[in-house]
């Protein structure tokens, strides 16, 4: 029973840390499937987290915070879009630039506005997301196996957590069952086919980039309005890159993305759990090694275990009408 309890706790925290990964990886899915590579997920998420924390602190409204996160993230996406779609610039350079700009400016603005060393003020009850408890969650907890699964694993998460998991089938449906999705996937493979079919390649890619902005906004808002109460500098801590790795690992498919993010989330949760606890047979393991574990596994998995990940064919290539 004790072991089972440990598992439930581990899975519960897996879900908690996976949420921003899922949002960000799905965000990447939309742009990359449309042929715009986006290494700036990290920056967008961080910018959104800052906007959410700052606006929620000032307005005392969690919804204004979420809205601000989404708007800032879309704005950053449009900058990336303008550079890489309209100006046909290098998409990697543009994405990296966004990451740097956001990493620096959030600290400067945060310090200028709130004078708390780059943090935003801690948010009270009303200005951050609360966990949702399912009906009867407390009364069924004592039922063996199913009880804890219902009460601790499924119930008791933030609204955004449920949104994240709902976004997986929704993204799938948009990409594979709507006209927009068909065109979006086509433009990432062969923009010429889209252009000759009488569809604007640029507008289509801009729409994909906006979708990415919205989802990154959710990811950022989750970090500063749900997972913690307020923005801390550099709080994304490489999650954008992990999401990017999950996206590639998942071969650019929505359900694979969810699984990949859960796997990375699990490794992260495991690392936290094992910190300070001696492992059987091995004994005490340095904290740093445990923290590095998800990254090491990422490299190993990406290097050898997933076969060939074939990116969208027109990915990273600006569209130029041929002469």
């Amino acid at each position: 029973m004790d072991f089972f309890h440990v598992i439930v706790v581990l899975l519960e925290s897996t879900i908690r840390v996976s949420v921003p990964l899922i949002f960000a990886a799905l965000a990447g899915l939309f742009t990359e499937r449309a042929g715009v590579f986006d290494i700036g997920l990290e920056g967008k998420m961080l910018g959104a987290a800052f906007a959410a924390g700052a606006v929620a602190a000032v307005t005392q409204s969690v919804w204004m915070g979420l809205l601000a996160a989404i708007l800032i993230s879309i704005a950053l996406s449009l900058v990336h879009g303008y550079a890489s779609i309209t100006q046909r610039g290098n998409q990697i350079v543009s994405g990296v630039a966004i990451n740097f700009i956001v990493a620096g400016s959030t600290v400067i603005l945060g310090e200028a506005w709130f004078r708390q060393g780059g943090r935003t003020p801690a948010l009270g009850e009303g200005s951050r997301f609360q966990t949702i408890t399912f009906p009867y969650a407390d009364s069924v907890r004592e039922i063996p196996i199913l009880g804890p699964i219902y009460s601790d694993l499924l119930s008791g998460h933030f609204l955004l957590t449920y949104v994240a998991f709902a976004m997986v089938p929704i993204s799938w449906w948009i990409l594979y069952r709507t006209r927009f999705g068909l065109r979006l996937r086509a433009v990432g493979e062969n923009p010429g086919a889209v252009d000759t079919a009488g569809i604007s390649v640029l507008w289509l890619r801009y729409r994909a980039v906006i979708c990415c902005g919205i989802l990154c906004g959710f990811a950022g808002a989750y970090l500063s309005l749900a997972m913690t109460a307020g923005f801390v500098k550099g709080m994304t801590a490489g999650k954008g890159y992990i999401a990017l790795a999950a996206l590639i690992f998942a071969k650019w498919r929505p359900f694979n993305i969810m699984l990949a993010c859960l796997l990375f989330g699990f490794l992260d949760a495991l690392a936290i759990r094992l910190q300070g606890n001696p492992l059987p047979l091995i004994g005490q393991v340095p904290v740093q090694l445990m923290q590095a574990l998800p990254y090491i596994l990422t490299v190993i998995l990406l290097a050898g275990f997933i076969g060939k990940a074939i990116p969208p064919k027109a990915g990273g290539v600006p569209y130029v009408k041929e002469r």
Partner: protein
């Protein structure tokens, strides 16, 4: 007067300094197959891209069914009933046939409804035009001929009455091309208008009702196909009389320059591609190697030129052995007087992203005259390239232009100029005129014969039997990796054809 499906009036288009279309006038009659012929770079594709709304004309007017229409984008062209089959297919390779056909014409935001409708419509089109294709097949798994069929279906699905095909046979096997022509006849009989863009005279004669000729951005003539001839069209295209068959004098073979003895080559999978081949190549003669593609000619060329390692056998160049089974490498062979014009100029002969002048010295970049100490002498390289551009009539005459922007014929001239101008003793040429237009073919053939007359030894490999017969002084026929016969150039096509098919050869080899 018959109905005119499309009329172009005074279409003019420039890309920067390049005047691609000059005051083009064209009338295409409804229900006919109208050919547009011209050399590469004559402006055919630009003109059709304007008609399809891909580019805007600088001036001029387009009339569809007698009414002026503004074609600002492909949407407007589709609305006007114009469909286009591009030279490079505009298909999403990992989509199914159905998805590709629907793309851009999906009917509703949600795909499901549209899919059912598209299926029904596709079935109807398949029946009506005998264009069968599995709607659920993924494009990348279909052969090229079927992919092209999907492109045609795409246009018909959008209710095109006028179908433009840009160089449709370039990627097809002869059998697939014949099938395409039957489909076009079928479309014509159903009242569709077909515009066929090509640089192949044979196709024009075989299938079109009328033909318009473009040359250097201008529309120079329109003829009724039945009243014209290949010779007249070729002359109109090039702007001067073209010799479709080059004249050459008697060969005066000298000493043996290249002696190949028992050469055997295997490919990566261990399959024997060249099987115990022996022959001699003398100064002042052209030896042609005929054969259906894939019978070991490519591997033979690669082994002799040091690109591919042979399993056994020996090759003597100017009487001295080449280490074909070991460490022979192209640069050493080049120094010893063996030049090689590879079959695949895009991947082996040139770096397409380089400037013309850079490609012009590729492999000869160690030459002292291009070097200034350890640095490249850019001025000398450009001056040299300019000289060569003049001699070989490479167009446009700009050594700084990216090689990818030259037409096939001009790219081939860049390679030929590079390899011929160093005065090699032995010249090995693979597919000298593949993807090259008529005017350039004549030029290239003349050059090859000039090389022979200067006393060079030329080994020519081509899958074009006409070319082999026109140029060679002796013909070797390869089949399944072996030389199955040697013939004079006046051997009949039928005789060579039997050898190439491996029918005659077996008997001969057995004797």
């Amino acid at each position: 007067m018959d109905n005119i499906a499309i009329e172009l009036r005074g279409i003019d288009k420039s890309f920067g300094p390049v005047h691609a279309n000059k005051n083009i006038n064209l009338k295409v009659r409804k229900g006919t197959i109208h050919g547009i012929i011209g050399e590469n770079g004559a402006g055919k594709s630009t003109l059709m891209s304007i008609l399809y709304g891909f580019y805007q004309a600088d001036s001029g007017e387009i009339l569809v069914d007698g009414k002026p229409v503004a074609i600002r984008d492909p949407n407007a062209a589709i609305a006007a009933g114009i469909g286009m089959v591009h030279q490079h297919f505009m298909l999403v390779e990992n989509f199914t046939v159905l998805e590709n056909i629907m793309l851009g014409a999906e009917d509703s935001q949600i795909l499901n409804k549209g899919i059912a409708k598209a299926r029904v419509e596709l079935k109807r089109l398949e029946r009506e035009y005998a264009l069968e294709v599995d709607p659920d097949a993924v494009i990348e798994e279909l052969p090229v001929g079927l992919q092209q069929r999907v492109e045609i279906l795409k246009a018909l699905y959008r209710r095109a009455d006028i179908l433009i095909l840009d160089e449709p046979t370039g990627v097809l096997t002869p059998a697939e091309a014949d099938h395409l022509f039957r489909v076009l006849e079928q479309l014509k009989s159903q009242g569709k208008t077909v515009i066929l863009i090509t640089h192949k005279l044979r196709e024009i004669m075989a299938i079109t009702d009328e033909v318009s000729v473009m040359r250097r951005g201008e529309m120079v003539a329109t003829r009724t196909t039945a009243e014209t001839s290949v010779e007249e069209l070729a002359e109109l295209m090039v702007g001067r009389r073209v010799l479709l068959r080059v004249e050459k004098g008697e060969a005066k073979p000298g000493e043996v320059k290249l002696a190949v003895e028992g050469l055997t080559v295997k490919d990566g999978r261990g399959v024997t591609m060249v099987d115990n081949v022996s022959f001699n190549l003398r100064a002042g003669e052209i030896v042609g190697i005929a054969g259906v593609a894939g019978n070991g000619q490519s591997e033979l060329l690669e082994a002799i030129s040091g690109i591919r390692r042979a399993v056994s056998g020996s090759v003597l160049l100017n009487g001295k052995p080449i280490d074909v089974t070991g460490r022979a490498d192209p640069s050493e062979l080049r120094d010893r007087g063996l030049a090689h014009v590879p079959e695949d100029r895009h991947h082996v002969g040139l770096v397409l992203k380089f400037e013309e002048c850079e490609n012009a010295i590729l492999g000869y970049h160690h030459d002292k005259r291009y070097l200034n100490g350890v640095f490249l002498d850019v001025d000398a390289i450009r001056k040299d390239a300019e000289k060569r551009i003049g001699e070989y009539d490479i167009r446009p005459p700009n050594p700084r232009l990216k090689t990818a922007n030259f037409s096939g014929g001009n790219q081939q001239k860049i390679v030929l100029a590079r390899e011929m101008e160093r005065g090699p003793d032995v010249l090995i040429i693979g597919q000298p005129t593949r993807g090259v237009d008529v005017g350039a073919i004549e030029f290239i053939h003349k050059r090859i014969i000039e090389m022979r007359d200067q006393g060079k030894a030329v080994l020519l490999v081509s899958v074009e039997l006409d070319e082999i017969r026109a140029l060679s002084d002796r013909i070797l026929v390869m089949f399944a990796g072996r030389v199955v016969g040697e013939r004079d150039p006046d051997a009949t096509e039928g005789e060579l054809g039997l050898l190439m098919a491996g029918v005659e050869g077996r008997k001969e080899a057995a004797e």
